[in-house]
């Protein structure tokens, strides 16, 4: 070790940051290639219409315009956009890269113009004339289920894409028969727009001589693209290189195969010139996937003493017009953690996926788990209030004991490890719970609307066992001790802000006993990282990090063999400590990496049968998901006059297992809570009743800003995961999952003195004000 203290566990600043802060990062739009052409896409202004005619001659006539293509020109030669979700009896429309004779949502790509500069490409778009025959649009998933509803895809005959039912645990009907009371509640998860600061961007370049295509794209999943694009492009994966340069935010929105990626590749091949397309903010709002949009009806069977016997959920998921990569899978994930942290013996979960004339929904930060957590955590409060039981007691009563892990839930998954009582106790302590309750009492006595909300969550990370993952859930990694004794680490995960260039270097530097500066982590290029399943579902460190650990250990093992040869002894007598190889009792000589690496590569004196070099790669297949958990406590004050919510205290105690870099953990939690503040209080994607998107810009779609973020008090407990040797669980989505219900519960708690028992998300000032109006006399 280069330093007495290990790197693992240290709150280290990210090695990525200096280049990003100084504007030295290379994003897709920064790429400059000789002869680069620029594409601009014409998009539908209608939610649903028949295209009678498209006239492109005026656009083609503009000097500098290289080509203008419509669906008729490309859809036969460029394959359909794939959906990887395996749902039985799924009905799916063919998702062509450009619209055929109909458009199905506002923002649907209709035509593309390619020109020598982006201004001309936009000019060309303005000159394309499309004659639309507008048709009735389906915009409300509940309405879409009614007989006689207009159809999103008239040729499919129905709006339902699939129905997915899970019955788990003991007999659900018996649970409801034995209940003293059945509590029903309807909860909505509004549609959200991920809004990464960097919109999507693609550069495609085709080498006619080699027959190779290189695609730079702002994506989370270069490897999955390399697996899925060959079917669309007719190029074998061996001729396809995908590069994800710096990615300015993904949040799940870039966990997808988009029509534009295939389209740009197709154009580059067809035009024999590199083609760039950079999404505008407006296109991003309309044509990059949205999140959530689930409407659920829930029934809880309870005994009067508070025991929960069973839970029934019926959820309608608004899928939008098309299936993107995981569109139908996301709402089914909700069913996997429906019971949250609680022992609930019986469940029934039914989700109906419905097509509407809107942009597709898909994985957005948390993907399915925020929906589950919001509902179970709201329901715990609803049940506690209805039965007049303390909400923390109700939760504690249903927690499995730390000794119950691994804990098999009635949803069919097995929680790896946990100590839910521990995070709750620590959060109460950090929040100074008794003082907080006294504050609430005093505030209420003074006529203030002061509320405290709690959420105890569990979620699913480290995705995941390949059996449960459509494209395989393993991860690949490679570690190479170079001849210079510097270390190259190559990971198949594609970090885009999570900081694994730092945390993986910490892991490797510790294990190899080298300074962290000597470790470089490479990623995001399929010609460099040959295998990978990329970054989503908080899998990077737990799955990808483990593949790295396995590879380091193989390198050390091989190095020991070489050291033994140099010591003229057996492998078993060689000890590796602090970056040095020794053979205690045999020789006083120590061999450092610099010497050993030179021996390995110069290969003048190798043991018989020893392959030169010090490199190893590994595939890690996780046996289970991991299940991080935590407790969030939020205090709010609601302005009686304006309905505005001020978060006055925020405490989060998260347990993501062992922490490689606590600073990165904290950063993920902070960002995650920020997302949740947005969802709880103001974010919502709005389509009007004609399917027009009204939140097409930052002027109309509110995302949290620094001034919306309160001072956080963050804490953690550590319950290592037994699923991987690092004992880590994952933390990318925890903040978002845990915080939304804590904030929602706090706002409703604040309004409880007025008799308000429910509010839909987002809890905007006007919504709160209206709820207050129905309960109290308006005050000015």
């Amino acid at each position: 070790m280069s330093d007495a203290t290990p790197y693992i566990g240290r709150a280290m600043k990210r090695v990525e940051d200096p280049r990003l802060i100084q504007g030295l990062g290379t994003y897709t739009d920064d790429l400059r290639l000789a002869g680069l052409l620029h594409a601009c896409i014409l998009r539908s202004p209608h939610a649903h219409a028949r295209i009678r005619r498209i006239e492109t001659s005026a656009a083609k006539a503009i000097p500098g315009v290289v080509a203008v293509f419509t669906g008729a020109d490309v859809n036969d030669s460029c394959g359909a956009v794939p959906c990887a979700a395996a749902i039985p009896d799924l009905k799916a429309p063919r998702h062509t890269v450009l619209a055929g004779d109909r458009v199905y949502f506002v923002g649907h790509a209709v035509a593309v113009a390619v020109a020598t500069d982006p201004y001309i490409a936009c000019d060309a778009i303005d000159e394309i004339e499309v004659d639309y025959d507008p048709l009735p649009a389906v915009v409300n998933a509940m309405e879409a289920l009614k007989s006689g509803s207009a159809l999103t895809h008239p040729d499919m005959g129905a709006n339902v894409a699939f129905t997915h039912v899970v019955n788990g645990g003991s007999d659900i009907d018996a649970a409801f028969r034995n209940a003293d009371r059945i509590i029903k509640h309807r909860l909505y998860h509004q549609r959200l727009t991920p809004m990464p600061i960097e919109p999507r961007a693609v550069v495609a370049s085709y080498h006619r001589g080699e027959g190779t295509l290189t695609l730079w794209t702002s994506t989370q999943i270069p490897h999955l693209l390399r697996t899925l694009l060959p079917n669309m492009l007719g190029i074998p994966e061996t001729k396809l290189r995908i590069v994800a340069p710096e990615v300015g935010g993904g949040f799940g929105a870039k966990l997808n195969v988009y029509a534009e990626e295939a389209l740009c590749a197709h154009l580059a091949m067809r035009l024999s010139a590199p083609v760039k397309w950079v999404e505008s903010r407006r296109e991003n709002a309309a044509s990059t996937i949205h999140g959530r949009d689930q409407i659920g009806d829930y029934e809880v069977a309870v005994k009067n003493d508070g025991r929960i016997l069973g839970l029934k959920a019926t959820s309608v998921a608004d899928l939008g017009a098309y299936l993107q990569l995981l569109t139908p899978a996301v709402p089914t994930l909700t069913g996997l953690v429906l019971t949250g942290c609680y022992k609930i013996p019986a469940i029934r979960f039914e989700v109906v996926g419905v097509y509407t004339n809107k942009m597709a929904t898909d994985a957005y930060r948390g993907a399915g788990r925020p929906e589950a957590t919001y509902l179970i955590e709201r329901l715990m409060d609803v049940v506690a209030n209805e039965l007049k039981i303390d909400r923390l007691d109700l939760r504690l009563k249903h927690f499995p004991a730390p000794g119950d892990f691994p804990f098999a839930t009635s949803c069919g998954v097995t929680y790896d490890s946990g100590n839910y009582q521990g995070t709750l106790a620590k959060a109460k302590q950090l929040a100074d719970w008794d003082a907080l309750m006294a504050d609430r009492k005093a505030a209420r006595a003074a006529g203030k609307l002061f509320g405290v909300g709690v959420s105890t969550y569990v979620e699913i990370c480290a995705m995941g066992p390949s059996k449960a993952m459509p494209a395989g859930g393993w991860e690949w990694g490679c570690v190479r001790m170079e001849i210079s004794a510097k270390v190259t680490v190559i990971t198949g995960v594609t970090p885009h802000g999570q900081g694994q260039e730092t945390s993986f270097a910490q892991i490797v530097a510790d294990r190899l006993g080298v300074p962290i500066e000597d470790v470089a982590v490479l990623k995001g290029d399929t010609n460099v990282a040959h295998y990978g399943r990329d970054t989503y579902g908080s899998r990077g460190t737990a799955v990808g990090g483990t593949a790295i650990v396995m590879s380091v250990d193989k390198v050390i093992k091989k190095a020991k063999t070489l050291a033994a040869h140099l010591f003229e002894t057996l492998d078993d007598y060689v000890v590796f400590e602090n970056g040095k190889f020794k053979a205690p009792g045999i020789t006083a000589r120590e061999i450092a990496w610099s010497e050993l690496a030179a021996e390995a590569y110069l290969a003048k004196n190798l043991p018989a049968g020893f392959e030169p070099g010090l490199e190893a790669s590994s595939f890690f297949e996780p046996e289970n998901f991991t299940f991080p958990f935590g407790t969030h406590i939020c205090a709010v004050e609601v302005d009686r006059d304006t309905g505005e919510v001020a978060i006055t205290k925020y405490v989060a105690v998260d347990d993501c297992g062992n922490q490689i870099n606590p600073l990165l953990v904290e950063g993920q939690v902070q960002g995650g809570i920020a997302h949740a503040i947005g969802q709880a209080l103001f974010e919502q994607t709005i389509y009007d009743e004609n399917g027009q998107l009204l939140t097409g810009e930052f002027m109309d779609y509110a995302i949290p800003r620094a001034t919306d973020i309160p001072e956080y008090t963050l804490g953690s407990t550590v319950t290592p995961s037994p699923v991987n040797p690092l004992g880590v669980k994952g933390v990318g989505e925890a903040g978002t999952i845990g915080a939304t219900p804590a904030i929602a519960n706090a706002v409703i708690d604040a309004l409880t003195p007025l008799g308000v028992v429910h509010l839909d998300l987002p809890m905007t000032p006007e919504r709160i004000w209206r709820a207050m109006q129905t309960r109290t006399v308006a005050t000015v």
Partner: protein, 155 residues
Amino acid sequence: MWPPRVRKVKLTVSHSVPADRQRVFDALGDPAILRRCIPGCESLTATAPDAYEATLKIGVPGIKGVYAGIAAISDKHPPESLTLSFEGKGGPGFVRGSAAIVLSPGEAATRVGCEADVQVGGLIAAVGSRLIEATARKLAGDFFNQLSKEMSATT
């Protein structure tokens, strides 16, 4: 209600025009008068009885779009009421709608009540939603002001 139901723009405008009902009714079907009164109207021609083609340059200062559109008058009950339907499209998006217009006699003037449903789509809906209703209201106001001037000038 959820998902949030956002009504398309509904516009209720009432304006007093200094002329008798028949004259106002006739004016609303007179292409020459309409061309002068419709804000930003650059051309308006009758393509059939009660059907028109028009080019409008409308919007607000600095944010004008050129729209090519068609309009048709139906449900005519002279001099009491008529329905005007219209559809226009241009670079910034499209506008569609219909207006039920009711004329009621007043003192030396006709009260023109107009209930319009307006649908706006495309870019203007995506980025201009907060201004659409106010703009529509203003355009309607401009139209009736001009019509009033037109009527008093020729009285």
